[in-house]
Amino acid sequence: MLSLVRKRLLQLVIVVFILSIFTFGLMKLAPGDPVMSILNADEMMVTEANQANLRSDLGFDQPVYVQYGKWMHGLLKLDLGTSYMSGKPVWNEMMERLPITLQLTTGVLLVMFSISLPLGIISARYPRKWPDQISRILALIGASIPSFWLGLMLIYLFALKLQILPSNGMGSFAQMILPTFTLGFSLAAVYSRLIRAGLIECFSKDYIQAGRARGVKEWRILWVHAFRAALLPVITVFGLSMGSLLGGAVVIEILFSWPGLGSMAVDAIFNRDYPVIQGYVLLTGVFVVVVNLLVDLSYYLIDPRIKQGKEGSN
């Protein structure tokens, strides 16, 4: 297992390196640069000379690979650079935003599991009965509705019409409800069907019958025997979606005024704040690889038949 971790960490370095080159290249290819934004050209008297000076100060007149090399040089000294717009170190910017994104992510996961688990389990236990039908319809709705529409509708309903929840902002528990539910609902829709499918497949396995034949209590059959195996596909999808969740759910962040990593990234992209964009890509890259590593390790915990590299057979 340790060699798996080592292998993955090496992969992490390679993936992140390639990501950074790719992003840097794409960004430099895209037209525009941060100079106009930094100088507030739409408010202040700025001349072309000002712009040219700033460009050369920032090193934009040098070839792309030189600029990349400079950034990489800084990175190796563990310095991610400073944001053009705020003048703050990129690391500080990201660390300021990270707790907010984490809070959102945690809330979303809580909502997601608390909806999808019961729904998935009930659908699997009583397939084709009314709970199953309802979960199917909900899954379809959840997968089809765009999150910004759902968010606006929920704000309209709960903040304006019913006046029981605040429309935006963060800090209080009440302010957590709408954003986490908006995102959590669409995810829950997908997960409930995954859990249902996994469980139904498990229930048909011989060893479940064997457990029942030994008189093991039904709830144990569900939670200890069936659920664990059903978890495998769920955890796989979970790993994939965690990466994007940690990257920040941009739409929700803007709608509800949660200044997390997602809105930081969007602002940086619009303003061509290269150091921040690079830092963000790095961070998300690390998240995704680490999360997927944890997922792979958890496979081993859930089903010891799966050893590194080999697939488990049911």
Binding site: D33, S114, I121, A174, W219, S257, P259
Partner: protein
Amino acid sequence: MKKNSLLALLICLFIFAASGCSTENSNSDSEREKMSEKNKKVTMIFSFKTANLDPHTSFIPIRAGITETLLKLNDDSNIEGWLAEKWGTLDNTTWEFIIRDNVTFQDGDKLDAAGVKASIERSIAVNESLGESLKIQSIEADGQNLTITTTGPYPALPSELLNPYTSIVNTAAELEMGQEEFRDSPVGTGPFIVKKFTSNQEVQVVKNGSYWAGEPKINEATIKFNEDANVRALAFQAKEADVVYNLPAEGIEAIEKDKELKVESVPGLRSHFILFNQQSSKVADVKVREALNLLINRKSIADDIMLGHAIPANGPFNSNLPFGSDDAVKKLDVNKAKLLLGEAGYKENADGKMEKEGKALKLELITYNARPELPLIAQLFQSDCAKAGVEIIIKTVENADAHLVANKDWDMSTYSNNTSPRGDGSYFLNTAFTETGALNVGGINLPEMNEVIKELNKTSDLDTRIQLTKDAATIIDKEVLHSYAVYPNIIVGVNDRIIDWVPTAEEYYILTHTMDVK
């Protein structure tokens, strides 16, 4: 069964949370009523967020009433003294300011010329482009007398001192509390003091009891930031905020149904217009530009695209301003346009298209989505041009400035600028019409215009300045350097409980000491 009890638990949790919030709300409602005699509170929502409250890099501190500048714009868009009681110059190079005597910073330190000097020096150090705008060579301070020497004759200095980035702050306080803290909690001279700032989310302020112009009527205020227009509208309707800036025009009808809510549509200082690529041969002929100018349906843009929340434009500056143009607004005139094109050598061919030397007139118009009305204006223009036989090809780009500078094959572009942010036309004329100006993406370089601008830069007499500005506008009109479409209004939602306050066009002085609630 386990899952049912889990579901039940969740439902209970949700109800508990929801009821907790509603009691919170109802508590604060009754609280508000009780405290209304003692504690007047206002909530606002702005459409831009800020990561810190440094007054020299953000407009929020002045808007929140935390800081003030030496000079301010009054309701007639004229410059008047604020922290500076009087000011004057003899040669437009040496400027004397008398700093008001009874002003203290919010931490008690007295405001004197030395403090102003330190603050201005800080602002130039912190803000990249401020130095260029102020053109200050040296500052001297003596008691309440401040002397600023500019690098050359610079009549525009007073209007540049209106810039929020020149807000006067207590640099001594910054030394004491450290730069990090100061940026989140600046010490200014304004009627409201920072109570709590949450980066990119909101700022809470309380009144400055010893404000020099009189005790503020409001006790405290919370200003929140939200970038989504729909959410701002919903929050306004849900009475979560008393004043909300930049409401979406489509939502106004629904809002106005509520008797407690008012929507102010304030004429703004911005212009939406079309600019021309001076290097393009197709629009090089002034007659062609004149024709195109007549194909802009300004009324329709104002009424249909902007839903009535705009004024048709007759020049670069809003007609309400003292230096705005008095000319009539050009109406849509397809026939006259065709005539003008004929004078430029175009004939209508069999397909109804304007043709010259065998080539139909096809023009590329750049537009962008950052301002949603611009692509719509482009489309309207396209259809009206088609009536005159001119084909317009619309190209939408992400970053207009970058595209316009990097490419040379475009002919026209929709554009939008705040043309007179500080009550003076020289900012816009200098940056958009001179060769070195950053906003001059079309490459305008007209000797006539350059002369007028140079003259304007030397003139300090207000009336002469106004006349010169109008002259510049006349030249722009004659040469059709830009085609101005509309001046969009600023749409602000104001709850009825706010009294003694209206939103103003410059969007600098928002939270004032005179604002009151019922």
